[in-house]
């Protein structure tokens, strides 16, 4: 078998590759009984004394490097900070490795680094180590940035994907599909990006506000595969289902229109500055209010709750209830 694009698309095909080829061939996957590789959570943890160190890593390639609402620098910092954040840990430091192709414009590199710094300042994170390599330009398209984030949480306070409890309320911190649709549109020349930009942003502020109140049981940042993927992952890892109200899920008008014209489901499209979390029902309103006060959380909503059912069910106003599936790489027509 050869690797196809679908192996990196965040769907079931990618899950298959990870479990068959990667997990099966690695023996040591966890340290000190912390969250390890096999858990496929947003990051790993190493329990140390009274605390747990959280580690998360990500490689970033994006076409184009600069897009409405951000650039590869912002996305590589925010992406990693967010993965650490949704583990319930305060992000502390970043290690940053860059592979740059020969002929890359230094001014552009500077813009990218400044963008990284902006996210770090906003979140109170330091870039503490790094690595820079250059490759022939026929071997690499522009650049790849790999970032590893370190965070810390009191021991036992980590929020695992598997932590949902029946009855929990599901909070979504803002509109979905902005990043995926605007980037797609910008790249292919559809023109929606004139009204729309990527939502790429660090979510630590919102997460911290929620953690301060307490009762947060599980979190995820819905990137590749969109909320459809993130919600299904949370549900299946927790062994529960969800009942969601379609009308409560914020979708910007432009995203809605674009998805109607392109035939793309905004729930399956990547976000870069959103969180979905399951919280204790009695804390839900308070957490929602706190998140809404954050500059990225104004549109936050309680979109549903956790059920004993094994499916993620979406109730729509006209179409009744349907199962919200985790997307596979390429949809195949099914309506006869």
């Amino acid at each position: 078998m050869k690797i196809g694009m679908s192996h990196g698309a965040g769907g079931e095909i990618m899950q298959g590759l990870i479990s068959d080829i990667i997990l099966d061939n690695i023996k040591n996957k966890t340290v000190n009984g912390g969250v390890g590789l096999a858990d496929l959570d947003d990051g790993a943890t190493i329990p140390l004394g009274e605390n747990e160190i959280v580690i998360s890593t990500d490689s970033h390639t994006i076409d184009p490097l600069f897009f409405p609402g951000g650039d590869i620098g912002r996305i590589s910092m925010a992406g990693t900070v967010n993965d650490v954040s949704v583990m319930g840990a305060r992000p502390l430091a970043i290690a940053n490795a860059m592979v740059i192709s020969e002929g890359f414009d230094v001014d552009e590199l500077e813009r990218i680094i400044k963008s990284m710094d902006e996210v770090c300042q906003e979140t109170g994170v330091a870039i503490v180590t790094g690595d820079t390599k250059v490759m022939e330009n026929d071997k690499l398209d522009k650049m790849i940035i790999s970032t590893t984030g370190i965070g810390i949480a009191p021991k036992g306070a980590i929020t695992r994907d598997s932590g949902l409890e029946v009855g929990d309320k599901i909070i979504l911190t803002g509109s979905v599909g902005d990043h995926g649709i605007s980037l797609m549109s910008y790249r292919e020349g559809f023109g929606f990006e004139t009204d729309l930009k990527s939502d790429v942003a660090p979510v630590w502020g919102m997460v911290e506000a929620a953690l301060d109140i307490g009762g947060v049981h599980a979190m995820k940042d819905p990137t590749r595969g969109g909320i459809a993927n993130a919600l299904n992952e949370l549900a299946s890892k927790s062994g529960v289902g969800m009942f969601l109200d379609d009308e409560k899920i914020p979708v910007k008008r432009e995203v809605h229109a674009a998805s109607e014209m392109l035939g793309i489901d905004p729930y399956e499209v990547a976000n870069e500055g959103k969180v979905v979390m399951g919280v204790a029902p009695e804390k839900a309103d308070e957490i929602l209010e706190a998140i809404r006060k954050n500059k990225y959380g104004g549109e936050a909503q309680i979109i549903g709750e956790v059920t004993t059912d094994k499916h993620v069910i979406l109730e729509t106003s006209l179409g009744g209830k349907r199962i919200l599936e985790a997307p596979i790489a390429d949809p195949v027509p099914r309506v006869c």
């Binding site: 292919e188 006209l318 099914r334």
Partner: protein, 770 residues
């Protein structure tokens, strides 16, 4: 004196079979007994050999109307045993039987029962639940087997002394009629608004309310109907608006055939189907005098009509002069029909003005069946009430496997193969709707219960990786610890058709909306060389791009753009759409430009060879239909337009080789239709000619293959074969070329029989166990 043991198999339970045996024995003076052993009726008789032979023949000749005898086996017992029996007796069902029990389908109220209902002074006068051994509900009231009253929803209605007398008298036609009852002991109807309305005669009042323009929910036998008047536009429009179903044709019920003649054309075979005790909805052509509201079946040349199938329906029509009422399944779109009183009242709040309900539980939901004739050939559009659970006979296939096949995704039935009988379920529906998905699982459990299937050896599903039925198949495979077999959609279509004709090999034109292809693309205009467990895809329509995937199914002008793309420049297409089809795009020019970019950049396109999409695109091209609001809408409206026209215009066909297969160039076809439209040719003639061109193209692809492979039969399967003009053209072309043409006759051309085909392929593939 001889003694014999006779075993009779078939539909011999709950159909008055044993009392009939009793009467035959009495008439011949034969002694012995009869009893049920599950699916087998056991008869032990003594008498002289000649009488016993006469007796055994009479079992078949004089069988009760709704029974079905598969086999009669005689085994002669010890010769010299002395007479053992004194008279002839009907013994209680033996409870420790083995094997599956074939439960009869529901049967329309018989004439004898209706005579009683209409006879003033009869104790069942005007009683809506009158039934006997020859008629009434079966499948819809059964909880478990053997079929006895205490395992049905009639259990709650203990028989009164009069009814009990009839029930216990072998000479009475209600002997062991499990659904029998009367006004004293049986269920009753009542009328509801928000609360129960006290009424002397709720059915009469219901008819009046209908005639005043109200929408009623009427709970019937296997489900609930939404009912409205048909002679006035307003009630129909009211119902449409409340359901958000602005175009989908509604089925009607008419009191009798002569009334139907007043607004529809009825061929003799159609009349026969209307009057059959299965009482399906029959799709009929509107006649020249058609006077019902055009809103009943908007923009179509035909409509679905059925006759009353329960006393309740008959009574409704005695209180009105209405020629027909709309009787459409009461459900929210895609969800299962409502059957529980409380659900009906709650969920139809705002849809129905009144509710005519009754207090008998509907155990098994069973939607009305729908049939359509193409020429004289009948096909099921939906095979459900009146037919289910009567099994298909798989005894020609040598298998003892229990197979559970889950069908496709939208128009789902499932099939359970056990002991050579394949039980195809009632219509389940759209399993992308959660409620329907749950219903599927409950219906599987129930079917396994009433067939006593303990285990499953193979679970079968579609090749489509995303279908909910595919996922369920994997879960069931784990549950039953058995393999899951995936069967290609059109292979299953062909297999179901082969069963109707008992053929091992033929060339199948599989033409429908979409089926997941072995190459991962969306097939739907395929020529399949069917040879049992295997198939070869040997020709197809030209693969076309679907910009936006399933979105093209809803907005056919998108498909048209995709199909024109190989022949026209993007600018030409945008210009054409902008000038002539702007209103077919919800986002107008912006959307047209986006689609053009999608086609240019190969963004979110999927390939399809679907015939349905070609017909949709033709409907869009001829400005017949710009948005599909119900399944098949564009193609159905194309057919109705074509019905008004003549095949006068020459649409040239181009068949080319692509990847070693013949393909029909559908881009060239639609562009030639478009040119003629721009030249001002009449739309009706164009629709007719275009439809014929597609048919000829499919037929020619099939004929080429048949001649090369030396196969003498060509068949048609898939939803496209509901189209009478297409079916008849293909038949004509195929027969003119010297081949046999076969169509579905006892199964669905559409996806309702996919599970049947899947089960068949599994039986052929997996064969005998051990």
């Amino acid at each position: 004196m001889k003694k014999a043991r006779i075993l009779v198999q078939g539909i011999v339970q709950g159909v008055g079979f044993r009392p009939n045996v009793y009467r035959i024995a009495k008439a011949l003076g034969i002694n012995g007994y009869v009893r049920n052993l599950g699916n087998v009726v056991e008869i032990v008789v003594e008498g002289n050999e000649k009488d016993i032979m006469t007796f055994s023949n009479d079992l078949k000749l004089k069988k009760p109307p709704i029974s079905k005898i598969d086999s009669v086996k005689i085994e002669w017992l010890d010769e010299d045993s002395s007479p053992e029996f004194n008279g002839f007796q009907i013994l209680e069902s033996s409870s420790n039987f083995s094997g599956s029990s074939v439960i009869p389908p529901d049967v329309a109220t018989c004439d004898r029962c209706m005579e009683e209902v209409m006879l003033a002074g009869d104790r069942r006068y005007l009683y809506p639940f009158t039934a006997c051994t020859d008629c009434g509900p079966r499948f819809t009231v059964i909880n478990a087997i053997p079929y006895d009253r205490d395992r049905t929803s009639m259990e709650e209605f203990p028989l009164c002394p009069d009814c009990l007398d009839e029930y216990q008298d072998p000479e009475d036609r209600r002997y062991h009629a499990e659904a029998t009852c009367c006004p004293v002991c049986g269920p009753e109807v009542f009328l509801y608004r928000e609360d129960r309305i006290e009424s002397e005669n709720p059915i009469k009042e219901a008819a009046q309310l209908l005639d005043e323009g109200n929408v009623l929910a009427i709970k019937g036998i296997g489900g609930t109907h939404l009912v409205a008047s048909t002679t006035d536009d307003l009630p129909v429009i009211k119902l449409r608006e409340r359901l958000g179903r602005m175009n989908q044709p509604f089925a009607c019920m008419s009191p009798d055939v002569s009334t139907i003649y007043s607004f529809a054309e009825v061929a003799d075979y159609e009349e026969k189907a209307l009057l059959s005790r299965n009482r399906p909805i029959v799709v009929l052509k509107k006649n020249v005098d058609y006077y019902l509201s055009p809103q009943v079946a908007p923009d179509l040349h035909n409509l679905g009509v059925m006759l009353p199938y329960s006393a309740l329906h008959h009574l409704l029509f005695t209180y009105t002069d209405a020629p027909a009422y709309i009787m459409t399944s009461a459900n929210m779109p895609g969800e299962p029909m409502l059957t529980q009183n409380q659900d009906i009242i709650n969920k139809l709040d705002g849809v129905a003005d009144y509710y005519l309900l009754h207090n008998r539980e509907i155990v098994n939901r069973c939607d009305d069946s729908v049939v359509r004739f193409r020429g004289g050939d009948m096909a099921f559009i939906r095979r459900s009430r009146g037919y289910v659970p009567e099994p298909y006979d798989f005894s020609n296939i040598n298998t003892d496997l229990n197979v559970l096949a889950l069908g496709p995704e939208i128009d789902v039935t499932f099939s359970l193969l056990k002991e050579g009988k394949c039980y195809v379920s009632q219509h389940i529906g759209d399993t992308t709707k959660y409620e329907t998905f749950l219903y599927l699982q409950r219906a599987i459990d129930h079917m396994m219960g009433i067939t006593r299937a303990q285990n499953i050896d193979v679970v079968v599903c579609d090749l489509h990786p995303q279908f909910f039925t595919t996922k369920l198949a994997h879960e069931l495979g784990e549950k039953f610890n058995c393999p899951v077999l995936k069967v290609q959609h059109h292979h299953a279509h062909a297999a179901a058709l082969s069963l109707d004709w008992e053929l091992d090999e033929f060339i199948c034109i599989a033409a429908d909306g979409v089926g997941y292809g072995a190459d991962g693309s969306a097939w739907g205009g395929e020529i399949i060389h069917y040879h049992g467990a295997e198939y070869d895809r040997v020709a197809s329509l030209m693969p076309q791009e679907m910009p936006g995937g399933d979105l093209t199914t809803r907005y056919p002008a998108r498909m048209m753009m995709g199909m024109l793309h190989p022949l026209y420049s993007t600018e030409e297409i945008v210009d054409l759409m902008k000038t002539h089809y702007l209103d077919y795009f919800p986002h107008r020019l912006k959307e047209i430009e986006i689609i053009a970019t999608q086609l240019e950049k190969n963004f979110n396109l999927t390939k399809t060879t679907s015939t349905g999409r070609v017909l949709d695109a033709l409907a869009a091209c001829l400005k017949i239909c710009g948005e599909r609001t119900y399944e098949g809408e564009c193609a159905m409206k194309l057919e109705s337009t074509a019905y008004q026209g003549e095949d006068t215009l020459e649409i040239p066909l181009k068949i080319t080789r692509k990847e070693g297969m013949n393909v029909l160039n559908t881009s060239q076809l639609i562009s030639s239709v478009l040119k003629k439209k721009m030249d001002g040719m009449p739309l009706e003639d164009l629709a007719c000619s275009a439809q014929k061109a597609v048919s000829r193209g499919l037929a020619e692809l099939a004929i080429k293959v048949a001649s090369k492979k030396g196969v003498d039969t060509i068949g048609g399967s898939g939803g496209v074969f509901y189209n009478e003009a297409i079916s008849m053209t293909i038949k004509e072309v195929v027969e003119d070329a010297g081949y046999n043409f076969i169509q579905h006759k006892n199964s669905c051309a559409g996806d309702g029989s996919v599970s049947l085909g899947q089960a068949m392929v599994a039986a052929l593939k997996c064969g005998k166990q051990s």
